[in-house]
């Protein structure tokens, strides 16, 4: 099975330690704690008219996608290559799920909020990103209970490998849920990478089964981001 070289064109994140992108950060960390306030000004292009409707999970995803795309130099609304969005999560839309059902319970459904319900599917966050940037590729959320936060990135690389897309935004998005999450090792935050296949030598490679960073199997998201930042610009197209 042939090895595929993966170019990381850019990356952005929101974690409890702050907001950043690959091209101007010296380090990456993902501690426990509270995420920065998710304000529309954090979007790298003009604020979205729909901003007020979005739940926090979608806001975190949309801001992080805009940071990653700007980092990759492709954050304008234009005809893109077929771009996929693959994101992993643990609690997904649990926060807005709870808020929505609180509108159902008091009056036995009479006051159920359609606006909140619309965001109770975790993949609606991907829809918001695709609408804003005109992405027409595959989009899916991978829910996971395991503490491995790299599923979305590996899934995104696989979709590149399959030829289902020419470019992918892939990563992890998990906001602090207002209920007990299943695994405390899954940290709050959103981390997205913009990737595509390349013929050049690259830090990331996919051997058909595993995603390798510098020849070694990636161990976790924090280490992967550390490696990518350490080696940034080395593989830009």
């Amino acid at each position: 099975m042939s090895t595929v070289n993966i170019a990381v064109m850019g990356g952005g994140w929101i974690t409890a330690s702050g907001i950043g992108c690959m091209s101007n950060s010296e380090s990456f960390s993902m501690p426990e704690g509270t995420l920065p306030e998710l304000r529309p000004e954090l979007l790298t292009t003009k604020p979205d008219q729909r901003w007020g409707r979005l739940d926090n999970y979608s806001k975190a995803g949309l801001i992080t996608a805009s940071l990653a795309l700007k980092d990759a130099g492709i954050d304008t609304i234009e005809a893109h290559k077929t771009t996929a969005i693959i994101v992993s999560t643990v609690t997904g839309s649990a926060d807005v799920d709870r808020k929505y059902f609180h509108t159902v319970v008091p009056q036995m459904g009479l006051l159920a909020s359609p606006n909140l319900f619309a965001y109770t599917l975790p993949n609606c966050m991907l829809g918001e990103i695709s609408i804003r940037y005109g992405f027409t590729g595959p989009a899916m959320v991978l829910s996971q209970a395991a503490p491995d936060m790299t599923n979305g990135i590996i899934g995104g690389v696989k979709f590149l490998h399959y030829g289902l897309c020419e470019r992918v935004i892939a990563g992890y998005c998990n906001i602090e849920a207002s209920m007990d999450s299943v695994d405390t090792e899954c940290k709050p935050g959103a981390v997205f990478l913009v990737m595509q296949k390349t013929n050049k030598k690259s830090l990331l490679t996919f051997n058909g089964c595993e995603l390798l960073c510098n020849g070694s199997k990636i161990s976790d998201l924090v280490n992967l981001m550390g490696e990518l930042i350490h080696n940034r610009f080395a593989e830009l197209l």
Partner: protein
């Protein structure tokens, strides 16, 4: 090109266990909708759904697992290479409901993918596991991913499981969104006025030809090709022109290297909502023109089961190809003029090799799968 065989499947719908009762009910236009007994519906636009009757007696919080357990009764064998993909929109959402109602933190161990956890243990899965959430295209997305895994040699066998239950959480939401019919589900009917929810679970086992022969299995059909595309239009409403669905279908046909006029039948998403069905009709005309084959939807009989609908529809489509019969559309009385010549209130004979199934979901995602008769 690797042949992706369907080596096994099973399902539970409002008609009961298995695809035989589902198929017979579809052919005789039985409607499986029942009065909802598990929660109060007086403030919602409807009071019926395609419920699995025996789940009504199961305690709140345990219905989702009980639904999966019904399928696990079969002696399913996995091996070290078996990858598990699960698909659901809201998993065991009743746990979440209970959390909100009681606010007892210790009473709730909510997970967005409890199905995957449950099945890993129940089926002794040793290989990788992923839970796919792509709204109403969750199962079809999981199936096309499974097919890619096999085609690209990542593994030789993938089990795709999908399930969703009728819950007050989801029922109230569709009622609030005003996409639920106050009457019944009438896909592709001129008087359609919304969807009726349903619940279902199912699994499908896909494997390559070598594994099929090695395990001495009979192929139930082939997943010939697939396409997936986003609308980039709206998170809850379809693109009126259905550009995402068109791309998905075109990609599937191109990958299969077959012409549009070689399809024998189309299983449409056919929710019975005004906007979904008109979008699909426009897309089918755009793609197939005068060569449009018979079109049907099973949601008038079992309701819209959300996450698993794509998997149940693959099971029905493969049966349709094997039997060379197109099921009628339950609930259809007066077809939309634009599709009148292609839908039927009676079973129709066909003579063909390929079927197309399509799904579209919130978030603007669309999938198209082409099945081949063996």
């Amino acid at each position: 090109m690797t042949n992706i065989h369907i080596s096994d499947y099973d399902c539970v719908t409002c008609f009961g266990d298995g695809d035989d009762i589902l198929w017979k009910s579809l052919l005789t236009k039985v409607c499986g909708f029942k009065q909802i007994r598990r929660f109060e519906t007086k403030n919602y636009v409807n009071c019926v759904a395609g419920c699995v009757a025996e789940l009504d007696a199961v305690p709140h919080g345990q219905r989702f697992t009980a639904l999966l357990e019904k399928l696990c009764r079969r002696n399913l064998r996995t091996d070290a290479n078996t990858v598990l993909l699960t698909a659901t929109t809201k998993d065991n959402i009743e746990l979440h409901e209970r959390y909100v109602r009681t606010s007892k933190r210790d009473s709730c161990n909510f997970s967005a993918c409890s199905m995957a956890d449950f099945l890993v243990k129940r089926l002794d899965i040793k290989c990788s596991v992923h839970n796919v959430n792509a709204a109403c295209a969750s199962a079809s997305t999981a199936i096309l991913w499974a097919a890619e895994m096999i085609e690209n040699g990542e593994t030789d066998e993938v089990m795709v499981w999908a399930a969703d239950i009728v819950s007050e959480f989801v029922f109230s939401g569709f009622s609030a969104l005003k996409v639920m019919s106050p009457n019944t589900s009438r896909p592709f009917d001129v008087n359609r006025d919304g969807l009726i929810l349903g619940e279902a679970a199912g699994y499908i086992v896909l494997m390559n030809e070598e594994k099929l022969l090695q395990k001495n299995k009979t192929s139930l059909g082939i997943i010939k090709s697939w396409g997936i595309s986003s609308d980039a239009h709206h998170i809850t409403a379809p693109d009126r022109q259905g550009r995402g669905l068109q791309r998905a279908i075109h990609n599937a046909l191109e990958k299969a290297s077959i012409r549009a006029d070689t399809l024998a039948v189309i299983n449409g998403h056919g929710t019975g909502t005004v906007h979904n069905d008109v979008m699909e009709i426009a897309v089918f005309h755009q793609v197939f023109g005068d060569a449009m084959p018979p079109v049907y939807s099973i949601k008038g009989a079992i309701g819209h089961s959300l996450g698993p609908c794509g998997l149940i529809e693959v099971i029905v489509a493969s049966r349709s190809l094997r039997e060379q019969i197109v099921p009628p559309i339950t609930g259809l009385q007066k077809p939309e003029p634009e599709i009148d010549a292609h839908v039927s209130m009676e079973p129709q004979r066909i003579d063909g090799t390929y079927a197309l199934t399509t799904n579209s979901g919130f978030g603007g995602i669309n999938t198209a799968l082409v099945l081949e008769k063996v």
